[in-house]
Each structure stands twice: as C-alpha cells, then as structure tokens.
Symmetry: C2
Subunit: 117 residues, 2 copies
C-alpha cells in the first residue's frame, strides 16, 4: 500500500506493474476517483502537514448526510490516505504523513530518472 510501503514498486513508468501491485494501487486511485472524496481529501490536506480537521467542519461543506460523508471518509481511510481519532463528541481527520508525496513519486519518478540519463 502506498501509504505503508514506499518500496511497493519503482513507479508507474519504470516497468509494467504486476497484478498485485496494480490491485493495491488501483484502490488508492479509486478512492480519489470521486468528486466528494477528492474535495474531502483536499479540505483535509490543505490544513498542511500535522494539521487536522473536525468532521463537524467537513459535513457542512456538502449537501450530503453525515453517514454519507462518514462512508466516503472511511473509503479514504481504507485506502491508506487518511487516519482519524475520536476526541469527545467529534472525530478528527488528517492526511497520513508523506502519502501524497509517495503517490506523486510513483506517478512521476522514472520520467525524472530518464531525463537525467
């Protein structure tokens, strides 16, 4: 998983992915492949490294029920992109450190390597 294992694979352009790598990484992209989840991810990520967002700040931005928002957040969590903690009444969400940089490196890395060769 991109969130857990930076050495999953050399990169999308380095060599053809095998079945297992493709299945694992497709989950991450699928999680981002929905406008509501992408907006949620952006709202959380824009707090910056170490920042977090209360679910009570996320829900009012959408015309969707709290359970629907929670379901989308769960899919982002299962993909290894975010984590959360309950404190008192509310649940707080943050982006897992380095996960977006690792995903970016997976997409672009080998092309940069090729450019310097």
């Amino acid at each position: 998983m991109i969130g857990q294992d930076a050495a999953c694979c050399a990169g999308l352009s380095a060599a053809p992915l095998d079945d297992d790598q493709a299945a694992e990484l497709a989950k991450v992209f699928k999680a981002l492949g929905d406008p509501v989840r992408l907006r949620l991810m952006s709202m959380i990520a824009s707090r910056g490294e170490g920042g977090e967002v209360c679910v009570c700040e996320l829900t009012p931005a959408f015309e969707l029920s709290q359970p629907t928002i929670s379901h989308h957040l769960k899919l982002l969590r299962q993909a290894g992109l975010i984590d959360c903690e309950r404190r008192g009444t509310w649940v707080y969400y943050w982006v897992l450190p380095g996960v977006l940089d690792r995903l970016a490196a997976f997409l672009s890395a080998p092309q940069s390597a090729g450019a310097s060769a």
Copy 2:
C-alpha cells in the same frame, strides 16, 4: 483537465477544491482506479517519453477480450492520459507528454512549497 490545463488548480493541498475542479480531476483518478487500466497505463508509460505501444502487444498480457481492453484504453483516453493513432492494421498508444508529471505536481506541490517557507 490535468492533461490539457496545468493551471487547473494550485494543488490538492493548496486549498479546498471547488466542485468543478473536483469533478474534472476525479475523472482522471477514476480512470487510474482500476487494476487493468493501471497495468495498461504502466505498460504504455514504461516505454518512456515519446514511446508508444501497439494494441497488439497490450492485449496478450491480459486474459480479457480485445473489445474489453479497447474499452479500458478508451477510458484512459477520455481522461486525457493517453492518445492513440491507427496505422494500418493496428492502433498505437502513448502517454500524453507531461500528464503524469502534472498529476504528480497536483498531488505533492503545495507540501514542497510549505517546506521551503
């Protein structure tokens, strides 16, 4: 679209995406959010900048029919990730120049900006 307009938005972590940006970008991630499409993308991208792949080389790597593979390739094309050209009997596919770098920059850019601030 990430493939056409590098200035679509500052980045996932720069500021919350609006509805239109999220809808546009979700299409790209959704296209990558399938193991077969991710493997196809990787097979094409690993030919490097300026490289291309004949559909006749892609199909035998999968236990799927030619129309199914063509459908997945069409979704990658509609997302602005790849393009193709028919020459004689076969169709040849390539990754649109810069598209993976732009997608990577969208995911990681503002964190780098934050690191230098």
